[in-house]
Amino acid sequence: MSRHPVDDLSGPQQLTLVLLRTLIGWHFLYEGYFKWLQPAWSRAGTPLPHWTSAGYLKAASGPLAGLWHGLAGSSWLPTVDMAVAIGLTLVGLSLLLGLATDAGCVGALALLAVFYLSSIPTHGVHEPGSEGAYLLVNKNLVEAAAVAVLLVFRTGRLAGLDRLWQRPASPALKEATA
């Protein structure tokens, strides 16, 4: 395997990249897990409202709005709900474990792109259910940028199960790249 510039990163640089990947992985995994968990109760003893993507799809704006509005009222809705839960869970596991990390990053970027394009903040005011005011840049976009960093730095090489599939570089190759 060829030597990659990421192998020359300092310890703290590697650590923070893996930390970033772990946090984003957990974020995706828990979002997926929570949707799988339904129906569920809070520990305070209250039944939680059943999750479905219907509300999100109905409120969608931007270039995909027409498609999402149609899906929200269609018989495909349960399939969409399941696909979102599966996608989030798989991406989360990938990033958390460092397993097929590149594919996980691409999946995360795809999901985040869909989420962003379905709800681009163009008004710059507090939206219901949002904890901040956003104009063009929201947390989906920031997280997508962070995933892009994980992808280009090939963080699966730093830590994670992907390393099991890495073959040590041959002495000849090492010499050539030294």
Binding site: L37, P39, S42, R43, A44, G45, T46, L48
Partner: protein, 425 residues
């Protein structure tokens, strides 16, 4: 105890004013720690006994918390009425049973809500607990203390929830009064509580058997009257002290933070000598540690006083009436008022009495003007909390220990009447 409209207004405002300055827990469960969610849908419930009280609980079920899968009653007529309650609340119909054991065998239930005659509380509750079901059993806990103990042991052994249905614990008004007035010491030292449940009627229910050939004897009732009016016979019932008094004694136990040490009582069948066995007039004095005394009276010959709990302290008087009205009077205030003084100060007994009758004649209008809480909310909270206990292990308010304490005192009061003696607990 009847208050003039001005006194009611003052008392209610003082009650709410005192509460507003305290972190009273108006919403039950607000202090629960937040942790990760628990998987599961509404709790699968079966109802055993869907007479009048069973149907109150059935109607209070929040479908987000519990799904009623099955109904059981030895009287088919009650099952039909229960169906109507479910339909009225837009809940799907439930399967019918006359035998609770068969219901447990055939249905995949998690919890059981029981509102059956008192003598059947222990056998059915213990049977359900041993079958692995959680149980919400109507009050009083059981027919005697030995049965209460067995219920407590069954709950401990099986690790299942056993909650006894004293809905005042789930009434936000009582919770707020306890947190904001009793615990803060707003009443000063409280040496006396007056517990009153006065009615003017024979307590005898009228009804037809579900069919002319209906025979309740397989369930232990020699006639339909015994099934319908089980409250009037010692074999099934413990009379006014169990059906009404135990509610009050639970409140005085709660607010005093203690249980009675001794009981003396009087009573008898004075008015309705119609073959009933349980007393139609009961007067009991419950002695608590620290020189505190609660006096309970329940009569069936005059409804002027209605029903309430009154706590009389050195700094003030708290009145919780009809489970929906709350009044607080500061001692020495301009409108100093106790029950006796209100009656004496009124422009005329006739006027006061007619106001009372007007209230009785139009309870809805009166409640709209005077209540601080909806009566129905207590049963709804109670049932929802039971479901929360089943699903996430949330603590309930009146488990076997609390319920046994009040049952023991009320049973002892019946014994004191019988023996004409002062009995120690």
């Amino acid at each position: 105890m009847n208050l003039t409209p001005e006194q009611q207004d003052l008392g209610r405002r003082t009650f709410l004013k005192v509460l507003s300055g305290t972190p009273a827990l108006a919403a039950l469960g607000a202090s629960a720690l937040l942790k990760g969610p628990v998987r599961g849908g509404p709790v699968r419930i079966g109802f055993i006994g869907v007479g009048a009280q069973g149907r109150v609980l059935l109607g209070a079920n929040d479908p987000a918390y519990g799904t009623v899968k099955a109904l059981c009653d030895v009287n088919p007529g009650q099952l039909q009425k229960a169906d109507a309650v479910l339909a009225q609340n837009n809940q799907p119909p439930a399967r019918h049973y006359t035998d609770w054991k068969q219901m447990l065998e055939k249905e995949d239930l998690e919890g059981v809500v029981m509102a059956v005659p008192l003598w059947m509380h222990a056998p059915i509750a213990i049977g359900c607990l041993e079958a692995g079901k959680h149980v919400l059993c109507e009050k009083m806990m059981a027919w005697d203390t030995e049965q209460c103990e067995k219920m407590r042991q069954a709950a401990a052994k099986t690790g299942r929830v056993l909650e006894i249905g004293y809905q005042r614990y789930y009434n936000p008004m009582y919770q707020a009064a306890y947190d904001g007035i009793i615990r803060t010491g707003a009443l000063g030292e409280v040496y006396h509580a007056r517990l009153v449940w006065h009615r003017n009627g024979n307590w005898r229910r009228q009804g037809e058997p579900p069919s002319p050939d209906y025979d309740p004897s397989p369930w232990g009732y020699p006639s339909f009257d015994h099934l319908l009016n089980w409250r009037l016979y010692w074999r099934y019932s413990k009379g006014l002290l169990a059906e009404l008094g135990s509610h009050h004694v639970n409140v005085s136990n709660w607010f005093f933070g203690a249980t009675p040490e001794a009981v003396s009582a009087a009573g008898g069948v004075y008015r309705f000598k119609d073959g009933r066995e349980v007393y139609d007039h009961v007067y009991a004095t419950f002695e608590y540690p620290g020189g505190r005394t609660a006096v309970f009276s329940s009569i069936e010959s005059n409804a002027f006083d209605d029903y309430y709990e009154m706590f009389l302290g050195t700094k003030g008087t708290l009145i919780l009436k009809r489970e929906t009205e709350a009044y607080l009077f500061e001692e020495g205030g301009e409108h100093k008022a106790t029950a006796v003084e209100v009656a004496a100060k009124a422009a005329g007994p006739a006027l006061q009495a007619s106001e009372s009758r007007a209230v009785d004649a139009a309870p809805k209008a009166a409640s709209a003007a005077q209540t601080v809480v909806e009566r129905r909310s207590a049963s709804r909270n109670e049932l929802s909390r039971f479901c929360s206990a089943v699903r996430v292990g949330q603590a309930t308010a009146c488990g076997p220990d609390r319920a046994l304490s009040s049952a023991r005192a009320c049973l002892l009061a019946n014994e004191a009447i019988e023996k004409k003696a002062r009995l120690t607990v």
